[in-house]
């Protein structure tokens, strides 16, 4: 290929990549293909999407369609090569387009700003005229100067022949707002790539009282943490009298070189971060076949409370009362059946835990009573003694999302930049005003004629109002001077 052809080819590709037509096409492709990803369930078990496809294509065609869809990457679309390619094309388009246009905009921003001939001022998009019969042109000019300054314009002045011109501009850099927005989008991409390349996302189900020095990826791989994390306890708290959860919490301890370096109770929306790795409260559950400890506080009437840790079948005494009990039963969610009124366990999770205790009291037959964790009054015994059910500990695990994302700070910065860029792009504008002041007849004679003109890069409506305001304020000041004379 000759040098020239190469150059032409490069220019063709460049202008294609810089074109807004391409941007429009990519917008449409990304929007439409994203729709597919919201209909076909992503990274789901095949059976789910087979059932979905059967609704549309019938049972017999569904497997074939499924295979075609799977080949096209629809089942994990947002990670498929072609979707990622479109995202890349989108960012290349954005970068090339911005590089391509920036010099022109930069020129526009730094265009030498000069006075205009009066007949040109009269052709500007926003214009006004007025004549003052008896004022001097110097006085009129002064008032317009004051008025422009009051609207915070930095005013330049030029005089030629018998005319003076005031001219000023504001917000020329607002033309760059668009580039700031585009830059922030690129930064988001960069942040996402850094996160994907150098970060990880995993999970860890940690039973109460246990520890781990790894987290797990979704396919079961181990991710070493570099330290040990331990779960002291997990707890769901509920709104009073309701089974609506108020908070999911667990207390985590970071152990490094055998020392506890950090302890924090985490909640949804309030994670723990240590050495760049963050632990989020994301789920919880009961351990199958767990043998936990019943933490129970007994208080004889007027006496000191005493906290006990008991296993299933253990017995305890309330000191000095002769009352004893044996842990005999447990339900994670005890309630009464709506129809029969019998006690039932209505959830596998610890929604309303209750411990069943066989009581032996002096002079009474043994009997069984339930003490609810969420309802302390169920532990009030005759004679003012009380038993409080604090927790069934060691039976639950806390589900943690464990992730490290070294790109996230860039995402946050990009968010701030985008907010600033959007504000500048949409709510600020590059405004220019020229005011031509001259006497009607040569030699400083006759009424003073004012021609004002201006243009703006956007928000013409607001600009017109501003001009009105500047104009009225100056005219009134001139008239006030005239009246004084």
């Amino acid at each position: 290929m000759a040098e020239k052809d190469k150059k032409d080819l490069f220019e063709t590709i460049w202008s294609m990549l810089a074109s807004v037509q391409l941007a429009v096409a990519v917008f449409i492709v990304l929007a439409l293909s994203s729709i597919i990803g919201t209909i076909v369930e992503q990274q789901a078990e095949p059976a789910k999407n087979l059932a979905l496809l059967a609704k549309f294509f019938g049972d017999s065609a569904a497997p074939t369609v499924y295979n075609i869809f799977a080949k096209l990457g629809f089942m994990d679309m947002y990670r498929s090569w072609w979707f990622v390619s479109f995202l890349s094309l989108f960012s290349i388009n954005l970068i090339v387009c911005s590089i391509d246009r920036f010099p022109k905009t930069w020129k526009l921003v730094n265009l030498p700003f000069k006075p205009l001939a009066e007949h040109v001022i009269k052709t500007l998009p926003v214009k006004k005229e007025i004549k003052f019969r008896t004022a001097s042109s110097a006085a009129v000019k002064d008032e317009f100067l004051n008025s422009l300054k009051a609207s915070r314009y930095h005013v330049l002045e030029s005089t030629e022949d018998n005319a003076t011109q005031l001219y000023c501009q504001k917000g020329k850099y607002s033309r760059l707002g668009v580039y700031v927005v585009h830059l922030s989008i690129i930064l988001i991409f960069v942040g996402a790539i850094i996160g994907a390349r150098f970060g990880f996302g995993g999970h860890l189900n940690l039973p109460e009282g246990q520890f781990s020095d790894v987290a797990y990826t979704s396919d079961g791989g181990e991710i070493p943490l570099g330290f040990t994390v331990k779960c002291n306890w997990y707890e769901t708290s509920y709104y009073e009298g309701l089974d609506t959860p108020m908070e999911f919490q667990s207390e985590l301890v970071v152990i490094e070189n055998g020392r506890e370096v950090l302890t924090k109770a985490i909640q949804v929306n309030d994670p723990l971060t240590y050495k760049g790795i963050t632990f989020y409260q994301s789920s919880y559950g009961m351990l199958p076949n767990a043998r936990g400890q019943f933490i129970i506080t007994v208080t004889p009437s007027g006496g000191r409370p005493e906290t006990l840790r008991l296993m299933f079948g253990d017995s305890f005494e309330i000191p000095g009362t002769g009352i004893s009990g044996t842990i005999d039963d447990f339900s994670p969610a005890l309630g009464s059946d709506r129809r029969t009124g019998n006690l039932t366990t209505y959830s596998e999770n610890m929604v309303n835990p209750a411990v069943g205790v066989i009581f032996n009291m002096p002079g009474q037959d043994a009997f069984k009573g339930w003490i609810f964790k969420r309802y302390p009054q169920t532990g009030m015994l005759q004679g003012g003694h009380s038993i409080r059910f604090d927790d069934y500990w060691g039976a639950e695990y806390t589900g943690l999302q464990v992730s490290r994302d070294p790109g996230v700070w860039l995402i946050y910065i990009a968010c701030i930049i985008m907010a600033i860029g959007l504000y500048v792009a949409f709510f600020m504008s590059h405004k220019k005003i020229w005011v031509h002041v001259a006497h009607e007849s040569p030699g400083g004679k006759g009424p003073v004629r004012i021609s004002l003109g201006g243009n703006t890069s956007r928000n013409k409506f607001a600009f017109e109002k501003e001009i009105d305001h500047i104009f009225t304020r100056a005219s009134q000041a001139v008239e006030a001077r005239q009246a004084k004379k």
Binding site: F27, I28, S34, T38, I39, L52, M246, L422, F426
Partner: protein
């Protein structure tokens, strides 16, 4: 008076305002126009009162379960923007507010006839969808300031898009030369489908018992019409809908003359359509996308996970970005961009309602 009493007053006022705006369109009588505006303002004031009372009630509610929280925290957590019901109400409130601002700024009253229907439809939707109106306790994931600002800004953005949609709808009618134009057919279809779905939901609502109404959307959506067990009902629904679409297509054209006689200019409508997007786009970007991502990151450690809700917000965003670029650089004007404004608002509705109603329905197995 209670919050819901004031709210009912405002709902009544908006529906009355809708009727008066339409009468104004037909009669072009100035007094009628002024009373439409007055009625809207009256509704807006009552709704503001309702909103404040509800906020105060839910503040008390929050304080009883979390007595240790500080004043600011409690006020933020109690902000009535926490479920479908409250956010739809806030949407209506923002829509009316933005409409009133535009009405005063541009002195264009007839836009009311296109914006109040959106408000009325949203109100009707609230009622027939049977969403719970109780003050509900806030579940843990929602206890975040990011979430609050996310919802607040996103809904202001949606309301601005709604106004743009109203202006675009009026614009398309005004510039239509013939009923055969694709744009106009598209217009009749979109408006018609809106109304048909709403009426169909109304029929669902009436045919259900009070208990079933609570999950109208989850399990009874369009079950008494288009998704009925009986083939006859389905066929009748389809036939009636087509007849309705046809009638709308025939008669919608009449609006053109009315609008033209009201000194509504196409330039003005175009400007409102664009201006609203210029306001809505930054709000939606910041509130809908960025703050949503920040909230997700603080709650789950992932700022973007391509879930259907996020993806649909992104699609909506692409549509409006397309609008801005097509208009500003592609030099598209007139009908072509007006259509994008309409599509954008359809995407907004789908993002907010469709994802929960349609997609979760598709993905729910066994319950059919």
């Amino acid at each position: 008076m209670s919050s819901s009493a004031f709210f009912n007053i405002s709902a009544g006022a908006y529906i009355a305002a809708l009727v008066i705006y339409v009468i104004y369109l037909v009669t072009r009588n100035k007094t009628v126009g002024v009373s439409a505006t007055t009625m809207t303002i009256f509704g807006f004031v009552s709704q503001t009162i309702a909103f404040l009372i509800r906020w105060s009630n839910s503040y008390t509610f929050w304080m009883t379960s979390n007595p240790s929280s500080g004043l600011v925290e409690a006020l933020l957590r109690a902000a009535p923007l926490r479920n479908l019901y409250e956010s739809l109400i806030f949407f209506v409130w923002s829509l009316i507010m933005i409409h009133l601002i535009i009405e005063f700024k541009y002195k264009i009253r007839s836009l009311g006839a296109f914006v109040t229907p959106i408000a009325a439809l949203a109100l009707l939707f609230i009622d027939i969808s049977g969403t719970s109106k109780e003050i509900q306790p806030l579940i843990p994931a929602l206890q975040s300031n990011w979430l609050l600002f996310h919802v607040l800004l996103a809904f202001l953005g949606y309301a601005a898009f709604g106004v743009s949609f109203g202006a675009a709808a009026a614009y398309i009618v005004m510039v239509t030369e013939s009923r055969k134009e694709k744009t106009y057919i598209f217009w009749s279809l979109i408006i018609g489908i809106f109304i048909i779905v709403l009426v169909a939901m109304g029929i669902d609502f009436m045919s259900l018992s009070a208990d079933e109404r609570k999950n109208l959307i989850q399990s009874h959506f369009l079950k008494s019409t288009f998704r009925s067990e009986s083939g006859g009902v389905v066929a009748a629904s389809v036939v009636i809908s087509i007849a309705f679409l046809f009638a709308l297509w025939q008669m919608g054209f009449g609006l053109k003359k009315v609008l033209a006689s009201l000194s509504v200019t196409t330039t003005m409508l175009e400007e409102i359509e664009y201006k609203s997007i210029a306001i809505g786009f930054p709000l939606f970007t910041l509130g809908g996308l960025l703050m949503g991502a920040i909230w997700a990151n603080s709650a789950w450690g992932k700022y973007w996970s391509w879930d259907p809700k996020e993806t649909w917000s992104l699609i909506t965003w692409f549509v409006y970005a397309l609008y801005l670029h097509a208009r500003f650089i592609g030099g598209w004007r007139g009908k072509r961009v007006a259509i994008l404004s309409v599509i954008g608002f359809v995407a907004v509705i789908f993002t907010y309602l469709g994802v929960n109603l349609v997609l979760s329905g598709l993905h729910a197995y066994g319950s059919g």
